[in-house]
Subunit: 325 residues, 2 copies
């Protein structure tokens, strides 16, 4: 395979000139540029990325930290990040944190040593001081880490308001909100939207905390249907919790949507695979991943950000777990 | 942060000696080793991975090529690969190929330039000559690329035989096999198992080709239920196809499992989220990912493989889409 010396020889310039050309640093005459480009094409030369990252102190690797890629929300997010990253010549290092600060720190340390160019981080941790001293750009996705880190989130309050309003419009009068973990910003915002939508309405409401995992949601949904046998609506803070509630309700002989209506939040593909299909407040997961990636690459490439915090609208998707008006 | 010169100075040895020590190449006296180790610990020195990968011509990055991370099988596989890789100090670069040879080649070229240490590849491509000249180790996962590449697969013939036998034991007499793409090894093997299990039995069978995507499976399942209104069993070559068939059957008023029984293949988490839960032939996805990763790391680290081709057993999981005997 051709190396930088071959290119210099073929282009009749010095190795230093080729290096300046490749790293886009320092002066290279137009004539030299042309002969180097011709030499690169004719020799089918591929610059060695590791050697280049040493001189530019940068690779085109982006670390993507997610709680767990097997949670249905994150493959769709990872897909968007990878698609956009690739179109700019970047690749993605996948990191599952299991919501543990130690694992997030381990990955940050391992990848910073490899001159990773930046991080996109989705963390459930309520306190994340280990992001404060990181020497490369970071964009927070789906959750706010702290005010100095640029962030892409869904408008969770408005989304929850729309989802709850739909339940009310379809006739629900006695509604449980399965809310996400207390203290987690997006979960708090979704409860806020639920409360705003029901505040001055003639409905009974109950709020029950529920983690995002399927197994935990199944147990809590079962308890809800026993404790509150008269409810006719559930607004869940995630599609996974909503689908767990659907499964439990059907197993307990409740008809969805005639007897009990359910609205989820997230918009994962899974929602259209269940029967009946899940009515949900869909985040634009792909758009969020794409925004975050473009913002990060701008920061990596020293382009200034026009917006530091981007909020993406959510959209109601009506399927079969709510009644047609 | 301490650099290699600080370590050399602290240990009273030359930089070259520290470098030989770090790269495990060339002679370093026992006394020098001890003082370098002490210096590294006392200075909290972390070797710069990019600089080291230049001298050892190797990074601890593993490229993971999958068709599409949003297909529910692959997040579970990616999770296993990442867990095991991390325990050996390797990290994963995620690559979605969309089953396109060009995209697989692009990633191989990009990552080989970055001195990726090896690849784990899941490809649906029937011909994949672009893997022949790759200069780093490769392990094929879930599908065989060619005979020279070590492979981890499920025993698909046996798995399909067990799944079909269960349908028969539960009383199905008129069964459609929704088979995967013709020519794809694992899909061919699953049909083989289906045929073997039904060959000498008093049952009617039909074989219909169906891709693995949910949308395509929905359309094909609908056509099957119209073309063959008398069927009482479906054996699907993937859980996604099976779940599409379940949804379509329920929408068309067929009762599952009383009127129609369904068995899937894969064992993804999704199968337990639908109602009724999906009876399926479960691959041990985590074990497959873990095996493949350990094999690849052995190859990267020049340890000989005891087995070149590993076959993992599949296991029947009985849930609600088949009748209790």
């Amino acid at each position: 395979m051709a190396n930088i010396k071959d290119v210099a020889k073929h282009a009749s310039v010095s190795v230093a000139t080729v290096s300046r050309f490749l790293n886009k640093k320092g002066y290279v005459s137009e004539a030299a540029k042309e002969s180097i480009e011709a030499a690169i094409a004719s020799l089918n030369y591929r610059p060695n990325q590791v050697a280049r990252s040493l001189s530019t102190k940068r690779t085109n690797l982006i670390g993507l930290i997610v709680p767990d890629i097997t949670n249905p929300f994150f493959p769709e997010l990872a897909r968007a990040v990878e698609d956009i990253a690739l179109s700019y010549g970047y690749t993605i290092v996948l990191c599952n944190s299991d919501e543990k600060a130690e694992k997030e720190e381990l990955y940050i340390n391992m990848l910073t040593q490899k001159y990773v160019a930046g991080f996109i981080v989705t963390t459930n941790l309520l306190k994340a001081p280990h992001y404060e001293d990181v020497s490369v750009p970071i964009v927070a996705l789906d959750r706010t880490i702290n005010l100095s880190i640029p962030t892409v989130t869904t408008d969770n309050v408005e989304g929850a308001r729309i989802g709850t309003a739909h339940l009310l419009a379809c006739g629900a009068k006695n509604i449980v909100c399965m809310r996400g973990p207390v203290g987690l910003g997006l979960a708090d915002d979704r409860v806020k939207g639920f409360i705003e939508a029901t505040a001055d309405k003639d409905v009974q409401t109950h709020i029950v905390e529920c983690p995002f995992s399927f197994e935990a949601s199944e147990k809590i949904a079962e308890k809800i249907l026993i404790d509150y046998p008269d409810i006719d609506g559930i607004f869940a803070s995630s599609d996974t919790s909503a689908i767990a509630a659907l499964k439990v309700a059907q197993a307990m002989g409740r008809h969805v949507p005639n007897d009990l209506q359910i609205v989820g939040f997230d918009g994962v593909q899974l929602g259209k695979m269940v029967s009946p299909g899940l009515t949900t407040v869909a985040q634009d997961i792909y758009k969020m991943g794409a925004y975050a990636t473009r913002m990060l690459i701008k920061m990596i490439e020293d382009t200034s950000l026009t917006e530091k915090n981007v909020t993406v609208s959510a959209e109601l998707i009506v399927r079969g777990t709510t009644r047609k008006d």
